[in-house]
Subunit: 488 residues, 4 copies
Amino acid sequence: MAHKTITEPDCEADAFRDECGVFGIFGKADAAAVVTLGLHALQHRGQEAAGIVSYDGSQFSVERHVGLIGDTFTKPSVLARLPGSRAIGHTRYSTTGGEGLRNVQPFFAEFDGGGFAISHNGNITNALTMQRELQKRGAIFSSTSDTETLLHLIAMSDREYFIEKFIDAVTQLEGAFSLVGLSGKKMIGARDPLGIRPLVLGDLDGAYILCSETCALDIIGARFVRDVRPGEVIVITEKGLRSYFPWGEIKPRFCIFEYVYFARPDSNVEGRNVYETRKNIGIELAKESPVEADMVVPVPDSGTPAAIGFAHQAGLPFDLGIIRNHYVGRTFIQPTASIRHMGVKLKHNANRTAIEGKRVVLVDDSIVRGTTSQKIVQMVRDAGAAEVHMRIASPPTVASCFYGVDTPETSKLLASRMSTEEMRDYIKVDSLAFLSMDGLYRAVAEPSRNKECPQFCDACFSGEYPTDLTDRDSDDGTRTLSLLAKHG
Amino acid sequence: MAHKTITEPDCEADAFRDECGVFGIFGKADAAAVVTLGLHALQHRGQEAAGIVSYDGSQFSVERHVGLIGDTFTKPSVLARLPGSRAIGHTRYSTTGGEGLRNVQPFFAEFDGGGFAISHNGNITNALTMQRELQKRGAIFSSTSDTETLLHLIAMSDREYFIEKFIDAVTQLEGAFSLVGLSGKKMIGARDPLGIRPLVLGDLDGAYILCSETCALDIIGARFVRDVRPGEVIVITEKGLRSYFPWGEIKPRFCIFEYVYFARPDSNVEGRNVYETRKNIGIELAKESPVEADMVVPVPDSGTPAAIGFAHQAGLPFDLGIIRNHYVGRTFIQPTASIRHMGVKLKHNANRTAIEGKRVVLVDDSIVRGTTSQKIVQMVRDAGAAEVHMRIASPPTVASCFYGVDTPETSKLLASRMSTEEMRDYIKVDSLAFLSMDGLYRAVAEPSRNKECPQFCDACFSGEYPTDLTDRDSDDGTRTLSLLAKHG
Amino acid sequence: MAHKTITEPDCEADAFRDECGVFGIFGKADAAAVVTLGLHALQHRGQEAAGIVSYDGSQFSVERHVGLIGDTFTKPSVLARLPGSRAIGHTRYSTTGGEGLRNVQPFFAEFDGGGFAISHNGNITNALTMQRELQKRGAIFSSTSDTETLLHLIAMSDREYFIEKFIDAVTQLEGAFSLVGLSGKKMIGARDPLGIRPLVLGDLDGAYILCSETCALDIIGARFVRDVRPGEVIVITEKGLRSYFPWGEIKPRFCIFEYVYFARPDSNVEGRNVYETRKNIGIELAKESPVEADMVVPVPDSGTPAAIGFAHQAGLPFDLGIIRNHYVGRTFIQPTASIRHMGVKLKHNANRTAIEGKRVVLVDDSIVRGTTSQKIVQMVRDAGAAEVHMRIASPPTVASCFYGVDTPETSKLLASRMSTEEMRDYIKVDSLAFLSMDGLYRAVAEPSRNKECPQFCDACFSGEYPTDLTDRDSDDGTRTLSLLAKHG
Amino acid sequence: MAHKTITEPDCEADAFRDECGVFGIFGKADAAAVVTLGLHALQHRGQEAAGIVSYDGSQFSVERHVGLIGDTFTKPSVLARLPGSRAIGHTRYSTTGGEGLRNVQPFFAEFDGGGFAISHNGNITNALTMQRELQKRGAIFSSTSDTETLLHLIAMSDREYFIEKFIDAVTQLEGAFSLVGLSGKKMIGARDPLGIRPLVLGDLDGAYILCSETCALDIIGARFVRDVRPGEVIVITEKGLRSYFPWGEIKPRFCIFEYVYFARPDSNVEGRNVYETRKNIGIELAKESPVEADMVVPVPDSGTPAAIGFAHQAGLPFDLGIIRNHYVGRTFIQPTASIRHMGVKLKHNANRTAIEGKRVVLVDDSIVRGTTSQKIVQMVRDAGAAEVHMRIASPPTVASCFYGVDTPETSKLLASRMSTEEMRDYIKVDSLAFLSMDGLYRAVAEPSRNKECPQFCDACFSGEYPTDLTDRDSDDGTRTLSLLAKHG
C-alpha cells in the first residue's frame, strides 16, 4: 500500500492566489496584538505564514511562524515576545522565493542608522536584475525574496537621510508594491505609482494604521481614513503624517481582479464596496448572457455575491446547490488507484435533492485551468441536473499576473488556448458565458474600458501589462541561484 | 502586559455542539483511507479529535489524533499503520469524559474471544450507574467515557456468542446511541430503540458502509442503501447482512434538532433532505412572523438556508450583510482591557455598505445563551441598519440535551428564564420571533406535533425527555471519580 | 542515496538492560518534584519513558512522557499538573509490553473503593496465564504490560479491605516484583518473596520514601532507613508504617547481576556497596587470572571499578586507553555500504598514544553476544596494542533472564554456545578469562556459592531459575493478542 | 506552587565552555553523513546546535538544527536533503550572537561568483568594529554573529579571484579563527596567524578532511595527515591541495587551555596527546604540591586523567569517590524553597562507603567561579571524609578569554579577586594548590614559559592577550544593535 500525500490537484492549484496582506500600527499599547487581529482579518490574502516586528522604543522584536494566525500568533508567549506600541505584520502565500521561514516577512535589516523592518504586498518585476547588480557591489542576500532587494537598495543608497534613501530605493523598483515599513522613529507606507495593490489608512484612537483592506480596520473597530494614493509615500512619526509623491502625476491602474476575487466582500477598496461590485457583476452578467433555467447556484464561496446579483436580475431562485466543506486542510490523500477513481469530493458536494431534474445556472468567479470547473459540472450532472449552464463573473483569463498573484504560466490558462465554444465543450456545459470586458468595467461603475489608457490593470484579461517586466525579458530569464535547497 | 489565551467567550460557547460522527466500511482495500474521507465529510459533527481502527485479517491497528482529519489522518505514515480492508472511525467533540487521547474513540478491548472496537455517537444516560456496578464486580475503567461501559457489559455478559453478548449489553443501555463496531469477523451497527441519532447504511462497490449522514457516502461516491432503523442491530460479515430488533416495536423519536442545526445541509437523514427542510423552516417562519423590511440577512453559516426560504416567502432580497471569517482557530487572544474594549469581531463582520440605512431581518437557527445574538445585533446596528428584526428558525430552547449534545445547563439557556419579549429586549432588536413547535413539525412534513406521542425527540424545546435519565436522577448525581486530572 | 536509521547494532543491543526504577514519597510538599529528582537518580535503570502519579488529598493526577526525566518532567507546566504531597513514579526501559505511552507506568485504576496507582520493577512470569483467566471472567485489558494483571487481580479479589485484596493479588504472582503503590490513603511497597529486585526505605524530614536504590535517596539528601525485606509488604499511612509478610519465611535470592552491572556504583543494595563490590570483583579476577601486561584498561564505563581493583591487585597501571563519547543518542546512521565499512566508532575510541606498543588488559563487566567485545578488541589492536588480554568481571552468561532484564534469547548468548577458548578465538584476544562463580560469591562476601540453595539469583550464569516460569512453559508459549499494532 | 525552570546554577555556569567544532570533507560519497559522524565526535566542543552545508556539483543544501547531532542529523530525511560528495559542518556552543537558528553555522552567502559556506571556531576581536564600517558601505547583516563579518569582507573585496578575496578578508581579521569553507569548486581551511584554535588535516580514501581535532578522524577511520599550520590557508580542489601563508612568519601561540580542558583526551593537537599531557599535569602537580592522604579522587570527568597521574606520582590509590550522573539535561528544577534547601545533587554524588573516614585528594581541572568546588567539597565532607585536599590541574584563571571561549567576566573569576589562601577558605578545604605556570609548560614538554614570547596563549592565566582586542577597547565598547530580541 503506497499512500501519496499530494496537494489536492485540481481544486487547490486551479485558482488564482493572492499572496500577501500587510498591516501596521503606530502608537497603540500592545501593538503586536492589534496587528495579530488585523492579519487575522487579512488571512484570505495569504495563509501560509506570517510575521510581526514590533518596536518598544529601544529595540525591535521579531516573530515569524508558519501556519494560520489564529494558531500561531495568538499564543501569549509569542505576543509576550513582541512588546511595544509600534508594530507591522505580514501574512503571505508564497509568490517569489522558496519555502522556509527565511522568506517570511517582515524583513528586517540593521542599517548604519538603525533597524528597519518592511512588509510587502505585490511583486517587483526587476528584482533579480537589480539583485545581480547589487551582488556585484558586494551585497549578500540572505533570502530568495524580491523584497530583500529593496533593503539593499536602501543600504547602498548614497542619500543622506533615511527617507531620502527609502525614496531613492523605491523609485528604482518596477512592478507592484504596497509597502509598510517600521524604523526606530517612523512607520512608512508606500504604493507603486500605478497603485496596483490596495493600501488603506486607518485610525484607532489616534494611532495610525496602514493595511491592505478595510476589513482589517473593521475587526478592531478602527476608522477608515482614506486609501493611500497610488505613488504616495506616507511617513508617520510621533509628530504626525507627511506625504511624498516621488513619481509625480501618473494615471493609476488598480488591479481589477481584486474586485472579482481577491478582496474580502466586506472591504471597500479604492472607493468601491467589494460585495456590491460583485453583485453588479452578476447583474451585468445576467443582462449580457441570460438563460432559461430553474435556479442559480453559486460555486462556493467566491461565486456567491455574483450569483445573488445574477439571480436577482434574472428573476430566478438563488439556491445552495453545492455545499462546501470548510474543514479541508492543505493536503489530502489520493491513496490508491481505486480510491482515485472514486472521484473524491473533498471540498464540495452537490445537494442532490435540490438539484435533481433542474436546469441549473452555475456562477463562478473565473476559470483558470478549467479542471475544477470540469469536476464541479460533472458533480452537478451526477446529482441529476437536467441542464447545466455556466456563467463566469469575469472575462476569460488569458495572461499570467506578474504583480504578486500566483498564476499558472499563460499556456496553462484554459482561455489562452481555447475559444469559449471549445471551453464549453471541455467543461461539458450546455452553455458557457463570460462577462465582457466592458461589462466588468460597468460593474465597477465605469462607462466602459478606455482602450488607450485603461482605468485598471486588467493584464490577466487583456495581456496588456502596465509596467516593464525586466526580469522576465532579461537574457537569462531563469533564476539561477547556487542555493536552491533550503530547509530548517 | 498579561495576555490570556481564552476560548472566544461568547461566540464559541454560545452554540449547541453535536459531538460525534461515526463511519465504518467492511471489505474495501485501504479501508482506513476510505474512513478518513468519510470522517472528513463528518467533521462538522466533531472537530476535536478522531480515531480509526482497522483490521487486516489477523490484527487490529489503531490511531488516535487530536486535530482535524485533514491535518492528522492524511499523513501517509499514519495510513500506512492502518492496514486492512475493514475499518471504523470516529470524530468527536467532547461530551462526557475529560480531555486527552484516552477518551478518543474508537475504543478497543481484548475480549476472551478476540478484539473488538467501537465508535459511538450519542450519550448513555445510565452509564455511571452501571459503571459503579461493574466496578463492584471488578471491572477497571481506563477512560472516563460512557462508551467504555458498553465494552465492560459485553465482557461480563454470560451469553455464549459474541452477538448475544453485544445485544445483552446494548439492551441494558439507556439514552441515545448510534454505534459502529468491528470484531475480527463482523462489522456491527446499532441504533437505540428511539433512533435519536442518525445512522445510515451505504454501499461502495459491494462493501457495506455504516455512517452518521449521507454526506459521508457522497464524498466517496457510495450508494445510499437505507437508514439503519431505530432499535435495529445490523451484523455484517463476509456472508452478508443480518438484522436484529431486540427491543421489538417502539415508536421512533429522531432528534428534530438534527434538521435545525446539526446535520449537513446536503445530507438526507431519516428520509428528509436537510437543506430543503431548512428552507421549509424559513418559509414557515416567514408565514408565521412576517415583517416589513428591506433585506433578509443570514447569520452565517447555519442561518443561510432558512434565510433563503424566508426571503423567498417574504418576497424580500436575500443579501450577505454579514461576512464570516473562515480562518478562525480554536482560541484567540483578549490581550488587554484596552483591546477587549475594541469589541473585536473575530468571526463575523457587518458589510456596512450593504446594510447602511436598511431595515434588516436577521435569520439565525437558534438562541442558546443569547450573547452571540447580542453581539451580532450590535454589530449590525453599528453598521447603520435602520431597523433590526430577528427571526429564529426553531422554537425557544428551554432544556438541556442529554443525548450527546453539548448544551449549557438549562438555567443558562436564555429562553429558560425569559419571555420572548424579555429576550427581544435583551438582544436589542426591533422585533423577535421564534418558529412555533407546530411550525417546526410542519417544516419536516408532519401536520403538527402529536402531543401524546411526539414524532421526534424535541426535549430541548419541550423539556419532555423520551428516556429515563438514571445518572442525572441518581442520589449522587455528580460524577465523583478519583482521577479527575489526566494529561499526556 | 538510501539512509537507514538503525539502532546502533552491536554496541546498543549487545548489553543487558535493566528495565525499571521506582520511587515514591508520602507526606512531602511538592512530592512530584521530589519524585522527579529521585527518578533522575534512577535514570540508569530505564531511559525510555517515565511517569508520575500524585495525589493531593482529593484527586489523583498523572503525567507520562517519553524521554529523559531531565527533558520531560522538569518543565514547570508538567509539575504544576502534579499537585499534592504524595506521589509515586516510574522510569522504564521496555521489557514486556509494546511501545507507546499506554505501557508507561505508573498504572492507575479506578476501583470500587477509589483510585490506585502502581509502579513495578521486575517481571511477572505468570502474567499472561493469569490474564487469559481474567479475560474469561470479563476483565478488559488496556495495556500489554504484565503489571496490569496485578490491578485486575486486586479488582476481582473477593476480600473485604483493600490491603487484603492487594495481598490476595500479589500472592498469586510469580516472578520478580518490587512494587510501589499509591491509594487515596496509603503508599504501599512490596517485594517478591525472593527479593530478586532491590527496594529500599528512606526518610526525608519525616516523609517515607520507597525507591529502587540508595542513590535516589542521596540526590535529595534523604536518610537510608533499611532495605525492604524480601517478601515484605509495607503499608504507609498518615499514622505510620506497618509490615506484612504474607509469604512467611523464604530464603531470599537477590539478583547478583545488580552488583555486576545494573546498580549505580554509589548505591548500597542489600547491605553492600556496589563500587566496593565491583572493586572486589576485580581483585578476585586478578587473583584467579593474572597476566603479564603493561596496563589495565577499563571498557568504559561499566568496567571501570573492576579494572581499578584488578590494576591494584595486579600492581599494574590503570589507564584510560578507551575514551567514551557521552553524547550518543538512541539511534544512529549507517548510511551506505561504504560508510558501514569505515567501522564507525560512535561510542568508544582507542587512545592510540596511550596504547601503542603496550600489552593491554581490558576489563569488562560481561559478554553478551560478543559483538561489542570483538569491535573493541579490534579497535585496541588497530591502535597498536602489542597484546590484548580480556578479563570479564563475571562468569559466562549462559541463560536469559525472566525477571525484568531485557536479555537476548539464550541461543544468542555467546557463552551458551562456545567454550571460553572458542570465545577467545571469536573475540580475537591473546587470553580471555571470566570470574568463577565462587569468585563472584567471594566478591560479595560469601565464602562460596551454596549449590543446594544459592544465596543469590544467578540464573543468567547458572540457568537455575528460582521461580516457576509459567508463561514460558505454557502450551501456547507465544503471546497472541489481537491488537499488536498500537500507536499514538 | 511556583516552579521555576532554571539552568542548574552552579554546576553548569561554573565552567569554561569551548564553543565550536568544525569538520569538512571534499570528495567522498554521502559527504554529509561523514560530516555528521565527525561532528558527533566533536560534540564536546559545542552541544547547542549544529549545521551542515553540502554541495552536489550543482547546488548547495543546508540544514541547521538545535540539539545534539545524534538526535537531529541522524534522521534519514535530514541526510537525504544534503546530497553531494562535499560538505562542511559546525557544532556550536554560543559565544557571540543571540539565540536562534539564524546564528547557527555554517553561514552561507550567494556571491556574485557563486555560493560559499563557512564554519568558524574561535572569535574575531574586531568583528563589530568592522561590521560598523561595512554597514556604512551598505552591507546588511542577517545574523548577530562575528562570522558574518568575514562573508561581507569577501563580498566587498575588490580583488579579482575568489581566493584573493578570501585572503584579503581574513587578513583584516583579528583574534582566533580556525575556518573551514566550501565554494562550488574548493574547500578552504584557514587558521589565524597565532594558531590559537586547533585545525587538523586528514585523509579518508583520498578525500581530504579538515577538522578541529583528531578524534573526529578516528571515528571514521580517517588518517591524520598533519596539523594545519598557524597562519596557513589551505585550498583543496579536485586537483589537490595548495597552501598560502599570507601573514608570513609569526611565532604561534596555541591555546594551552585546550590541553587542560577543552580537547578530548584521545585527540592529538599540535603534536601532543591530550590524555598524556593531562597525566603529565597530574604528575607535575603531585611533585609541586604533595599531600599526606589515603586516596586520590577525580572530579569527574575532566579531572580524571590528571588524577591518575597524580595518584601514580604520589603512590596513592586512585578511586571513584564521586559518581557522575550522565543523564543530566540542560535545565532542571528548583521547585520550591524547601527543595532548594535539600542541596540537590543532580550531577554528582559522593560514594560514601569509599570515602568515609578517609583523607581525600580531590583533583579538578580548574576553578572558575568556585561555586561548584564549594558544593563538591561539601558533598565529600558530608559523606564523611576525614580531610579534603584540593589540587587544581592548572594555574589560577584570572582573566577572561576573548578567543572563542565562553568565560565569565574577569571580576567573576574567583582567582581574580582572592589569593590561594582565601580561595582555600572559601572552598573550605584543608589544603589547596594550583599547578604553577612553569609546571604547566613542563607538562606540555616545554622547559618553562618564555616570558618574553610565551610559547602558548595563556591569557586566562596570565592576562597577556596575544592580539589586539579592538572591539573591547573601542569607545562604544558595548554592542548596541537595534534588533536584540530574535525568536523563531
